[in-house]
Structures are given as C-alpha cells and as structure tokens.
Amino acid sequence: MNRDRRGFVTLLTKEVRRFWAVLGQTVMAPVITALLYLLVFAQAMDGRAPVYPGVSYTQFLLPGLIMMTVIQNAFANSSSSLAQSKIMGNLVFLMMAPLGPWDFYAAYIVAGLIRAALVMTAMLLVAIPFVHLPIQQPLALIAMFLLAGGGLSVLGIIAGIVSSKFDHLAAFSNFIITPLSFLSGVFYSVHALPPLWFAASHLNPFFYMIDGFRYGFFGHSDVPIWQSLLWASGFFATVSAVCLWMLFTGYKLRR
C-alpha cells in the first residue's frame, strides 16, 4: 500500500474503531429507540387507511424511521468524533500528520456510512419478521442511502469544525437535526398536512431523503423520485462545498 493511501486507511480504521468499540451506544441504542417508535405508532395508528395503495401504516412508517436513524447517526458519528478531538486537543495529532483535506473528507464520510449501514441493517433484520417490506427500486434505495448518509456525515464534519464546546454540538443536534428529522414526514404522508406545513416540508431536505428512500421500497412516494434525488444530491453538494472549503482553508482548524 502506498504511504498516502495508508494514511487515509488508518484514519478510516480509527474512525470505525471509535464507534465499533461502543456498538451498544452507537448502533444498538438508536436501533432500539427507532423500534420503540415503530411499536408504539404501529399500535396507535393500527387500522387506519393505507397511505399508499396496498401499503399499511406500519409498512409506511418503517423506511422513514430507518432513514431518520441513518440521518441522525451519520451526523453524530463525524460530528462527535471531530468535536471531541478538538476539545480534548488530540486533533493536533491529525493536523500534524501528512493527511490532506480529501483524506479527512473521505474518511469521515465512509466511517459515517458504515455506521449508518449497520444501523439500517440491524433495523431491517429485527423488523422484517414482523413487517413485510418489498424492495421495488433497489437502485433508488441505495442512492438515497448514500446521498443522505454521506451528506449528513459531511454536515457532521462541519458541525465538528464549528463547535468549540460540546454545547455547540448539542445545539446543532437539538435545534437542527432533530427537528428537521421529525418534521420530515416520517410518521405521516405530507399530503395529510395543512397547507402551510405542507409547503414548509418541501423546503426540508430530510423530507426528500425520506420520501426518496421510501420510494426505493414501495415504488410510491409523495414527490417524484427525480425530485428527491435532486434535493439529496443538492444537499450533498452544498455541504461538501462548505466542508471542503473549511478543510482546505483550515477554517477553525489551523488558526
């Protein structure tokens, strides 16, 4: 392996080991939370009219919950790792090493995607015996997973760079990620919303990630798949541009 490649692989391995060592917190806990939502809402909403033809409420709910969990965990992975290193001061070991902006960018994305994929797989494995999920459009499903998981990992890098206290990171998570992921049509079809909320949902990138992901399973969605792909790609491109600008200029990293 060439030296530059090995530097990147080491960074990636380190990031994976970080969450791997505490799988209970990083994978099990979010899966259990999501499954509790599934259990409670499936019970409460049981017997409602199907959202799409032939798609029960529980079936409708599961992909949204998976995508919400993917979003939250991809974000948490890179943001907490970076913020912690920064606050502890051990980020200097990375900053002194011959690792470049692209190494950071790619390593945090891949590590975030691996954690997100574990979360997704665990949820599917647990839920599949109880909830039948078809996979009508596997390519759309994979594309939405990669764009959303990748985009949120990148947003996590940005949050990690910007935060100089754990409070900042918590604010990012509590005031941006959590509200946007809950108000994104996980629990309902946006067509059921009053006009104002309906319009507002269409400005929320997470809505498109969830809607497009659902399309991958059912071949049905609230907005056309190309629109969701476009939004998710636009989100990924935007956060990547900001993140790479920060990494290349050393914003808040190299004073």
């Binding site: 060439n2 530097g7 380190k14 502890m88 690792l99």
Partner: protein, 318 residues
Amino acid sequence: MNIPNPAALAIHGVRKSYGEMQALSGVSFEIKPGEFFGLLGPNGAGKSTLISIIAGLIRADQGSISVLGHDTVRDWRAARRALGVVPQELVFDPFFNVVDMLRIQAGFYGCGKEVWPWIDEMLIRLDLNHKRNASMRALSGGMKRRVLIAQALVHKPPVVILDEPTAGVDVELRRTLWTFMRDLHAKGTTVVLTTHYLEEAQEMCERIAILDKGNVRVIETTEQLLNRHPFRFLRLKLANGGQLPASLRPFVTSERNGSIELRLEREQQPIASVFTALRVAGVDIEDVQTREPDLEDIFVELTGNGISAQPNAMGAMK
C-alpha cells in the same frame, strides 16, 4: 525542491499576531542537519507559536519555513513527514490504549507493521512497556508526556522538535529522557529542544537561540554564549560578622544568610584584588567559592528576566 544539503529547518521572516499582540515579529534563523538546538525564552516569548507554525498547526501571517528543503505550506506532505513534534500541552486520545495509539499515529504517516519493532523499542526505552495496553486515560502526567514523545517519533522523522519535554517530569525520568534524546541525536536526528531548565539546555544543546517577545535576541553556540560575558562570580562568607568594604559594594549581585556574591570582570578584576581589599579593611574570610557564569546568568542579562517558571525544579537539578 531539493537543494543539496538543505537546512534541517529554515525559518524566514516569520510573523504572527493574535489581534494586537505580536507573538512573533519577524523571526529568521536556520538549523543545520544533525544539530542539537535549544530554543529558549521566557514564558510567552513565542516558542510554542513558532513550533506550531513549523508543524502546520498555525498559519504564519508572513514568512516561510522549510523542513529539509520542503516548504511547510507548498510541500506540506513531505515537510510533515520529515518532522516529529512533541507538543507542550499534555493532549491524548482517551479512546485508545498506548500501543494502539502509537500504531495508529504511525499509520497516519504511512508506516505499517515495519515500524512496530521500533514502537516496542521506544516503549521499553521510555519505560512504558508495562503500560503498553493501558488506556491513555489511566496514565500519569509523566507517562502521558512519554507517550507524546514516542508518538512524535513513530515515523522516525529526521527532524524532531520537543516543546518542554521535561516539564513536570521527575529527576530520574528526566535523566532517562536526556539519554534518549542524546541517542536520538547520535543517530543523526536533528533535535530542537525547548526548555525552561537552562542547565538542561547548557548540557544538551550545541547551539541556542533565545527568543524574547517574538524576536530572536541571540543565536550562538552554547560555548560562545557562555563566553559572551567576561565575568565570573565570587561567593564570600565573612568571618565574625565582618562588613564588606565600600569599594566592593558595587559588585554585589546577591546577599543571603551572610553569603555575598560578587560579579567580577575577568580581565580587570583579578580575584586577588578582592582579597587584598578585604585584608586592607581588616576583614577575615570564613569561606570562599568561585563560579563561572552559567546560561541562567546570560539569560537574565539578555532578557532582563529571571527564570521564574520553575525555580524549585531548577534547584533540585543542581
């Protein structure tokens, strides 16, 4: 960019301000390959700032630095590969154990299993082997310091900068570190050492730069520096509460517990002349000691600044 025999470190006109505060106001000097170099200066002189700029952790406002001919900005990958830096702050990753941390750090530099024997050797030499599987969290301050040193050396860099590696380290361990640094130097590594223990610098460094308020005050070989001031010290204890004659008063530098220290010009004031003056005044001498000026005297002369950082530790070293 490969000039034949480039300097280990070439620093050109480096400036850095924090707001109004000029941390470095145009620092330039070179360090030759294989040198054992001391970077000294009082607290806040700008030493760590300069080191951070060399390491690429901070950006200079102006000026440039190259490590073995590799510019730290344009050719950053090669410059960082050539460099190992021990930071002043005791930073660590609480997540990993000692040996994993060192292997990971080696990996960042593109080094794999081939450096594991070297890592094991360092753990033994730095007396850390019994802690190799301990979490970084569970180490004492001195142990963390040693891990930091090992971490800076995992990739066998030809140029090593140690920012106060012996701060807060006990006497025995300090000796271990000295031997370690000497061996490193003997193997051809360029070593740059920052310390507030001037005796340590005097003992170890071939050449010394004294930084003060962001400027290089002086840069000379240790020998030149020590010969800089043609004076020596004479310590007297006078018998039976005798008083120093007025003619000798101007040369007193300190007076404590009846022990008086005089600073004498080597050429103009032979020690014998002091004895003569005392005999003429009819004062008996109980005890006498001479002392050559050490780095501390010169440091105080140059910076107008005592080493107030760790006075007790200084005493303990004597």
